[in-house]
Amino acid sequence: MGLKQYINDIVEAVVTTAKGMRITARYGVDASEEVTQQYPEERREPSERFRGFLHNDVARCTSCQMCIKVCPVDCISLEAVRGADKKFVLASYDINIGRCMYCGLCVEVCPTKSLTHTSGYEKASVNRGELVLHFIHEDAAEIKARVAKQVAEAAAKAAEAAKAAEAVKAAANPAAPDVAPAAANKPAPAEPQAKEKPESEKKG
C-alpha cells in the first residue's frame, strides 16, 4: 500500500462521511420532513377499497354459500333454513376474523353484495372466541324453531286452502285427482348447513 493510497483512503473516508452527515443534518434540522403520524390521535383515512373487517348485511344475504365455498381458510360459517316462502332464512352467520386473511375473495363472489369489507381494522381480545363475529344475534335454535313453526303454519294454511279448493273443486268435479297436499306437507328442511370441517383438514 503506497503512501498515495494511504492518504487517498483517509481523504475518501472523511469526504464520504461528510457527505452522509450533510444529508442527515438536513433531515435533522428540517422539521417539515417528519413523517410520523401520531397514531391514536391522527389517523389516515383508509382508502375506498380498504379491506377491513368483513360485514354481512344479513337482510340482503340469500344464504347462497358462495362465500363459504370460496373462502380459502374456512373462516365463514352459516346456518340457514328454508323459510315459508321457499327462500332460505339465515339462522346464524359467523365470521372468524381471527382466521380471516382479508383476501376479499368472498366479497368478490357475493351475488347480492351483502358481504362487504368495512374500514375497521382495530380489534383486540384476550380470547379467540371473541374474534368470531356473529351477524345474527338471536339464537340459531330459536330462529330455526320459529321458521319451522312458520313453515308448519304456512303448510297448514296451504293445506287448508288446498282442502278448501279441493272441496270447491270436488264440488265442481268430484273425479279430480288428489295432488295438492303432498307438496305442501314437506317438513322444514335444515339442510344447507356449513359446519366447520374437522380440525385435521386445515393444517397449515
Binding site: 483512503d9 483517509i10 462521511t17 452522509g20 452527515m21 444529508i23 442527515t24 443534518a25 433531515y27 435533522g28 434540522v29 422539521a31 420532513e33 417528519e34 413523517v35 410520523t36 401520531q38
Partner: protein
C-alpha cells in the same frame, strides 16, 4: 479537598468548632453526590436527546408522550428499569456478573472528579488530571470483559472480547492525540490546560487554533474517543445486528441501567476532555469569567463548559446516526495503521512547532504582528 474545607471553615466561623476531618469528609461526600446527580441527570437527559436527535435525523418525532415534549421520558424509562425483574442467568458467574456493571459505571464516573467544570468548579484538581482520566476510563474495559465472560453467553463473550481489544487499542491514539494540549500547557492538570488557553479573547487562545497540528489532533482525538466510548461506527462490542446486544445481552433492569448510564457518562467525559484540552474549557469567548465575582464567574464558566461539551456530544450523536459499523479487523487496522501513526506524526509536528516558534501559536503570532 482539604484546602477547600479550610477555606470553608474560614468563611463560615460557625464551623471552626467542628473537627477538621468531618468538614473535609462532608465536603467530599457532597461533591461526590453533586457529581453523581449530574452524571445521572446527564445519562437520563442524554438518552432523551439521543433519541430526539435520532428521531429528527430519521424523519421521525422521537419521544413526545411523557411530560412536555417527552422531556420526562427518561424518568419513565428509569422507573421501568428499576422496577424490571433482575434476571441473572442460571449458569452465569454470579459474583462477576453482579460486579461488572458497577465497575463499568465507576470507571466512567470516576473521571468526573477531575473535569474542570468552571473557574473553581473542579472536584479535585489533580496535577496528573489527564493521566488520571486515561487510567480510570480503562477500568471500563475490565468491567465489560467481566460482563461478557460472566454472562456465559457466546454473543456476550464475543462482545467482551471485542471491547477489550478495541478499548485497549484506542487508548494509544487517544492518549497521543491529547498530548499536544499537555505539551502546550506544560502540565497534566486539566485546570492548567484550560488556563493556558485563556488568552486572545477567549477564542483564539484555544488549542484548536494553536497550529494545524493541534487542529488535526482534535479531529483524531474525537475519532479515537468515539471508539473508546463504543459509539457507532465503532460500536462493535454491542453491535446489535451482529452480536444481538454484545456484552450486555444478558443484563436487565437496574444492572442494564448501569451500563447504559456508564455509556452516557463516557460520552460526556470524552466530550468534556475534548472541550478542556482543545476548545478552551470553561473560557467564555470575548469575556473574562475569572474576573467576575466568584459565584457569577463560576456560573458563567460552567455554562460555557457545558455548552461546548454538549455541542460535542451532539456531534457524536450525529455521527452515530449517520455511519455504518466497521468490521472488527477493520477497526483494529484503523487504530494501528491509521490513527496511531497519524497521532504520532501529529505529536511530532506539535513538538517541532513548539520548538521552532517558542511555544507560540498562529493566532498569537498574528496578534503580535497586528498589535
Amino acid at each position: 479537598m482539604e484546602s477547600f474545607a479550610l477555606s470553608l471553615v474560614k468563611a463560615v466561623p460557625a464551623l471552626s468548632g467542628v473537627p477538621m476531618w468531618t468538614v473535609t469528609l462532608t465536603a467530599m461526600v457532597l461533591t461526590a453526590a453533586i457529581l453523581l446527580v449530574f452524571a445521572l441527570t446527564f445519562g437520563g437527559l442524554g438518552s432523551y436527546v439521543l433519541r430526539k436527535v435520532a428521531g429528527d435525523i430519521q424523519v421521525r418525532i422521537g419521544p413526545n408522550r411523557v411530560g412536555p415534549y417527552g422531556l420526562l421520558q427518561f424518568l419513565a424509562d428509569g422507573a421501568k428499569l428499576i422496577l424490571k425483574e433482575d434476571i441473572i442467568p442460571a449458569k452465569a458467574d454470579r459474583f462477576l456478573f453482579i460486579l461488572a456493571p458497577y465497575l463499568v459505571f465507576v470507571g466512567s464516573f470516576a473521571a468526573f472528579v477531575v473535569l474542570p467544570f468552571g473557574v473553581g468548579l473542579i472536584a479535585s484538581d489533580l496535577n496528573i488530571g489527564v493521566y488520571y482520566v486515561m487510567a480510570v476510563t480503562s477500568l471500563v474495559v475490565v468491567g465489560i470483559l467481566m460482563a461478557g465472560w460472566a454472562s456465559n453467553n457466546k454473543w456476550a463473550l464475543l462482545g467482551g472480547m471485542r471491547a477489550a481489544a478495541q478499548i485497549i487499542s484506542y487508548e494509544i491514539p487517544v492518549g497521543m492525540a491529547i498530548m499536544p494540549a499537555v505539551l502546550i500547557a506544560g502540565s497534566l492538570s486539566l485546570q492548567d490546560i484550560v488556563r493556558s488557553q485563556g488568552g486572545l479573547l477567549g477564542v483564539f487562545g484555544w488549542n484548536l487554533f494553536h497550529n494545524p497540528f493541534t487542529f488535526f489532533s482534535f479531529i483524531l482525538y474525537f475519532t479515537a474517543a468515539q471508539a473508546e466510548t463504543n459509539q457507532t461506527p465503532f460500536d462493535l462490542p454491542e453491535a446489535e445486528s451482529e452480536l444481538v446486544s454484545g456484552y450486555n445481552v444478558e443484563y436487565s433492569g437496574i444492572r442494564y441501567a448501569f451500563f447504559f448510564l456508564a455509556e452516557f457518562g463516557d460520552m460526556f467525559v470524552v466530550a468534556a476532555l475534548a472541550t478542556a484540552c482543545f476548545l478552551g474549557g470553561w473560557h467564555v469567548p470575548f469575556f473574562h469569567a475569572e474576573a467576575l465575582p466568584a459565584f457569577w464567574g463560576n456560573l458563567l464558566s460552567l455554562g460555557a463548559f457545558l455548552f461546548k461539551a454538549f455541542a460535542l456530544v451532539l456531534v457524536m450523536m450525529w455521527v452515530r446516526w449517520t455511519l455504518p459499523r466497521l468490521r472488527v479487523d477493520q477497526l483494529m487496522r484503523m487504530s494501528w495503521k491509521y490513527l496511531v501513526p497519524l497521532t504520532f506524526v501529529n505529536l511530532l509536528g506539535v513538538s517541532l512547532w513548539l520548538l521552532l516558534f517558542k511555544g507560540k501559536g498562529i493566532p498569537q503570532m498574528i496578534a503580535s504582528l497586528v498589535g
